[in-house]
């Protein structure tokens, strides 16, 4: 809890403590509905006007054996009256539904933090499953926390006993009981969740009634029982005026793609194979057929990218999305799209690797794969959103770059921003930029004959005759007179015919590289946040923006001359990159990998940058970056 806490008294006559921000986490078995409870809490907090950031953390197993350490699922919400960028480092409040959740989450709770425990689930069997030899509620090990023992199972069953449910069904309401309790504790109104329950269970009246009762019972328990120490109040945040919703990175990606296709007046063909954590994008788009979106659940990752390329060849916006292992499989086809110079959007929602790795955990270790992970000299455009909401803008950019430059464009998201949520100001549709796409309808050469009136006789269509930015024309099948052949064999410059000549190959390799380099002329310059020059420059990319920005603010409060840049464009880099580097003495590059951007920067800009590297499948804590800053300037 922030230092600026003040005490007042609530309408119920109880103590209310005013604080700037709170981080809470719901943790329980993956069958306990913790993701749902966390999502509801987030929605209500956002509607109340707090700034929010969330971090769902769930196991790769859908249902690991109940009560075990492997089956613990958590959902963390950070809500504040100030501008926040991360889901919070340390928990102020932890709600645990069983001993396994306590064991795996307690380390993140601050000293003196509030620990709400479902005391009904601490029987010998439960303790055994969580590998506790002694009951932690009784051995004094929790004395550094404000422990609130609530017999949630019993109270919940009692509250729903008239609802005609089986014992199993009744127990499934207990997440709502817990939610009600924390709603009281943090002064959240229940209306939005009651409405949600009503809409969701409109066809199961018994369940509707039971969840409603459980939620209210939890709330009333907080109000009436003396066990609850205090209520907390987090005032509204000062957020730019506008209409907001909560958005996850994957939702924003899907919406950005659809918006871009509408602004390009093109159909969107999305083709992918189910993979965590990217499948949501397929789910979202599959439900947008009234936008002219077509989706294919392909037979494998290769077919996913192949169909997207085939669609692009036909003149559609072709998009595929996957995670790292899927990119491995798609590599050869992406090379074909580079060679045939077709627009293609490839989304990689990165997860921990190598191999199957950590499917549900986040990492940023696929940057060099995007950069170099194909045979031959095979440049692609690479961009990376910096937050869940930024996924909308960058998805739009991916479509813009791919179609404007006829080049595969990688969008590197990650598990953290894909599933994390933040408030998102609804954009004004009328102000979305148009994406202009022109397909040629006439041959782009003449046969050498000039008529008396000066007009020239059209010749052949030359598929690799380029514009000044070195982009070839996107001629689509169905256009009379432009029949031509493309393929993966090296192309002759201009004609696009198969060609094996050494000088031509070198020329084409350079041309493809220069074309990608030319993208820099169409992207924004880097903006330095914080000090515009100084001792230390923090350099990040992708989903780590929030943690780095928060660390920057704290370091500047301490008087450090420090700036931050965040690369949303990674290939090519923005034009002013080397100019920015000249303004700082030292460089710190925090990344959730072993130093991939670091390697590129050192090689391309010859700067003596140092890395801050973490590969634990979890995002940076702000404190970790703060410590690294202190070391760097010491």
């Amino acid at each position: 809890m922030s230092a600026t806490a003040t005490l007042s008294v609530s309408t119920s006559g109880r103590k209310v403590q005013e604080v700037e921000s709170i981080t809470i986490r719901f943790a329980g078995d993956s069958g306990d509905g913790m993701q749902l409870a966390g999502t509801q809490f987030t929605n209500v907090s956002a509607i109340m006007g707090n700034d929010i950031a969330t971090f769902p953390d769930f196991p790769a197993e859908i249902r690991a054996p109940a009560g075990t350490l492997a089956g613990v699922s958590g959902f963390q919400v950070h809500f504040a009256s100030t501008d926040i960028h991360t889901p919070g480092d340390r928990l102020n409040c932890l709600i645990v539904m069983n001993p396994a959740a306590l064991k795996t989450n307690l380390k993140d709770l601050e000293d003196g933090g509030v620990l709400i425990v479902n005391s009904d689930s601490f029987g010998p069997n439960d303790l055994n499953k969580a590998k506790y030899k002694v009951n932690p509620l009784e051995d004094g090990s929790l004395k550094g926390y404000r422990v609130i023992r609530v017999p949630i199972d019993k109270l919940n069953r009692e509250s729903v006993k008239e609802c005609n449910l089986s014992p199993r069904e009744a127990d499934r309401c207990k997440n709502f009981f817990a939610l009600g309790l924390v709603y009281w504790m943090f002064e959240r109104p229940m209306d939005a969740t009651l409405k949600w329950i009503k809409d969701k269970f409109s066809k199961k009246i018994d369940v509707l009634e039971a969840n409603t009762r459980a939620l209210k019972a939890g709330y009333n328990y907080g109000e009436t029982v003396e066990a609850m120490p205090v209520q907390y109040r987090v005032a509204k945040a000062k957020i730019a005026p506008g209409t907001y919703r909560k958005i996850t990175g994957n939702e924003a990606l899907a919406m950005g793609l659809v918006a871009a296709s509408q602004m390009a007046e093109k159909q969107l063909v999305f083709s992918g194979y189910p993979i965590t954590p990217a499948s949501d994008i397929l789910h979202q788009l599959a439900d947008m057929k009234n936008f002219g979106v077509k989706t294919l659940q392909a037979e494998d990752e290769i077919a996913g990218v192949g169909a997207a390329i085939g669609a692009a060849y036909g003149g559609a916006i072709g998009v595929t999305a996957t995670s790292g292992p899927g990119i491995c499989l798609k590599a050869e086809a992406i090379g074909l799209a580079v060679m045939t110079e077709l627009p293609l959007v490839v989304i990689n929602v990165q997860r921990g690797g190598p191999s199957t790795g950590l499917p549900t955990k986040t990492e940023q270790a696929d940057l060099l794969q995007a950069m170099f992970g194909r045979n031959g000299e095979c440049p692609v455009a690479i961009i990376a959103p910096q937050s869940p909401g930024d996924c909308f803008d960058m998805a739009f950019e991916a479509v813009r770059i791919a179609t404007e430059f006829m080049v595969p464009t990688f969008l590197l998201s990650d598990g953290y921003i894909a599933n994390g949520a933040e408030p998102w100001a609804i954009p004004d549709v009328k102000k979305l930029p148009k994406i202009s796409i022109v397909h040629p309808t006439e041959p782009n050469s003449n046969d050498g004959t000039t008529h008396e009136n000066g007009t020239e006789e059209p010749g052949k269509f030359l598929p690799y005759k380029r514009n000044p930015m070195l982009v070839r024309p996107w001629a689509v099948p169905g256009t009379p007179g432009l029949e031509h052949r493309i393929g993966g064999i090296e192309k002759q410059d201009i004609t696009g015919n198969v060609n094996y000549e050494p000088a031509n190959h070198e020329h084409m390799v350079h041309t493809r590289a220069q074309k990608v380099a030319n993208i820099a002329q169409t992207i924004p310059d880097l903006v330095i946040e914080g000090d515009q020059e100084g001792d230390l420059l923090l350099i990040g990319w992708g989903g780590t923006y929030g943690s780095i920005a928060t660390a920057l603010q704290r370091a500047r409060r301490k008087g450090t001359k420090i700036g931050q840049i965040h690369f949303r464009y990674l290939n090519p880099f923005p034009k002013n990159t080397s100019e920015v580097f000249k303004r700082f003495k030292k460089f710190l590059v925090p990344e959730l990998n072993s130093g991939q951007l670091l390697l590129l920067l050192r090689a391309m800009f010859l700067i003596d940058a140092k890395g801050l590297n973490k590969v634990q499948g979890r995002p940076f804590l702000v404190s970790e970056i703060e410590e690294a800053i202190e070391k760097a300037i010491a």
């Binding site: 929605n43 509607i47 006007g49 939005a192 957020i239 730019a240 005026p241 506008g242 209409t243 907001y244 919703r245 909560k246 958005i247 659809v258 509408q262 159909q267 063909v269 083709s271 947008m288 057929k289 009234n290 936008f291 002219g292 077509k294 037979e299 290769i302 077919a303 996913g304 990218v305 192949g306 169909a307 390329i309 085939g310 669609a311 692009a312 060849y313 036909g314 003149g315 559609a316 072709g318 050869e332 086809a333 090379g335 074909l336 609804i426 954009p427 549709v429 099948p477 169905g478 256009t479 009379p480 029949e483 031509h484 052949r485 493309i486 393929g487 993966g488 064999i489 015919n497 198969v498």
Partner: protein, 339 residues
């Protein structure tokens, strides 16, 4: 509605300006020639025809056609063709593949393109060998085939392309050969006319690495006895004296002599339109020397295509929710206003 007649095209109008680079005597030349001929009468605009291919000798085919063409990567041609058809149901998409490209590295994609009933016409040039990589055994090479990679003979049982296509629920399954131009043209015509995925196996001679592997059905002296040409609604008769036929004994086909073992009425009547693929499957299993090998259309049934079903869902979604409205989409969650 006024019907605009398409310009009359000649086979040479389908020839691109590229020099054809197959080995002299390759069966592919014949297939290319018959394709150009067949396309003159399919009554479809040339600019809407696309040839998609994978990798291998056969997959160079698109370069030699003056249509749109896409020479892709090894085994994956069905994926590009599927995406193309999804984006552009107005196009006629041909897919040229071989036994290695289509059945080995790309076997999975072929299965799924067929079972989805995407409207693509798959031509599988089967020469039972890897030609472009200079002569290794392929997934259709017969057991014991000696090649550089199988000096003592291959130990892998071959896949039967037609059986596989039927198992994958293909709605059009046919076989023809490079050395019978009229039959080949006729089958290409039928494939072009089919709505849904069409699978055509074409026996094709590789002059260099597997010369003569299909002589038993292409050579005049043995063709009549080894090839059974299927005709819709006609009894299955073959042989140079036209007196041999196929009869069903329980679930097993058997070769009989008409007049000696039975009458014509006892023979199996060919019905490619039967919804059940069982008889077609039995035919796909028949191999020389126990049986003649069948040529013609084994199965042709009408099922909705993947593209049609997609279009229907789009219509339903639009009818239910109205044409997509971005502003509504952005607001499809709890909203709050900050003033």
């Amino acid at each position: 509605m006024a019907v605009t007649a398409l310009p009359t095209l000649k086979p040479q109008d389908f020839a691109s300006d590229q020099e054809v680079r197959w080995c002299p005597g390759c069966g592919d030349y014949s297939i290319l020639a018959q394709m150009k001929k067949a396309l003159t009468t399919v009554n479809f605009p040339r600019e809407k025809m696309v040839f998609v291919s994978g990798i291998g000798c056969s997959s160079r085919f698109p370069y030699y056609m003056n249509t749109y063409g896409f020479h892709t990567i090894h085994g994956r041609a069905p994926t590009f063709a599927t995406g193309l058809r999804i984006a552009r149901p107005d196009l006629q998409v041909w897919l040229v593949t071989g036994d290695g490209d289509g059945l080995s590295i790309g076997g999975n994609h072929l299965i799924h393109a067929l079972r989805r009933n995407v409207d693509i016409k798959v031509l599988l040039f089967n020469n039972e060998i890897y030609g472009l990589t200079k002569g290794q055994f392929s997934p259709t090479s017969r057991l014991g085939t000696k090649t550089k990679s199988s000096p003592q003979g291959s130990v892998d049982a071959p896949v039967r392309p037609l059986s596989l296509a039927l198992a994958a629920e293909a709605t059009f399954v046919a076989r023809t050969m490079d050395m019978d131009p009229n039959h080949l043209t006729g089958i290409l015509h039928r494939a072009a006319a089919h709505k849904g995925s069409a699978f055509v196996e074409i026996y094709q001679n590789c002059k260099i690495f597997n010369d003569g592997v299909f002589d038993y059905v292409t050579d005049k002296s043995s063709k009549a006895d080894n090839a059974l040409f299927l005709e819709q609604g006609k009894p299955m008769i073959f042989g140079k004296d036209r007196n041999k036929g196929i009869r069903l004994n329980g679930l097993n086909p058997e070769v009989v002599t008409v007049g000696k073992d039975c009458g014509v009425d006892d023979l199996v009547m060919h019905d490619e339109k039967t919804e059940s693929a069982t008889m077609a499957y039995l035919l796909s299993r028949m191999m020389v020397p126990e049986f003649p090998e069948v040529f013609g259309v084994l199965r042709q049934v009408s099922h909705p295509t993947h593209e049609e079903l997609q279009a229907k869902q789009a219509e339903e979604a639009t009818a239910r929710r109205g044409k997509g409205d971005l502003d509504k989409l952005f607001r499809n969650d709890d909203l709050w206003v900050v003033e």
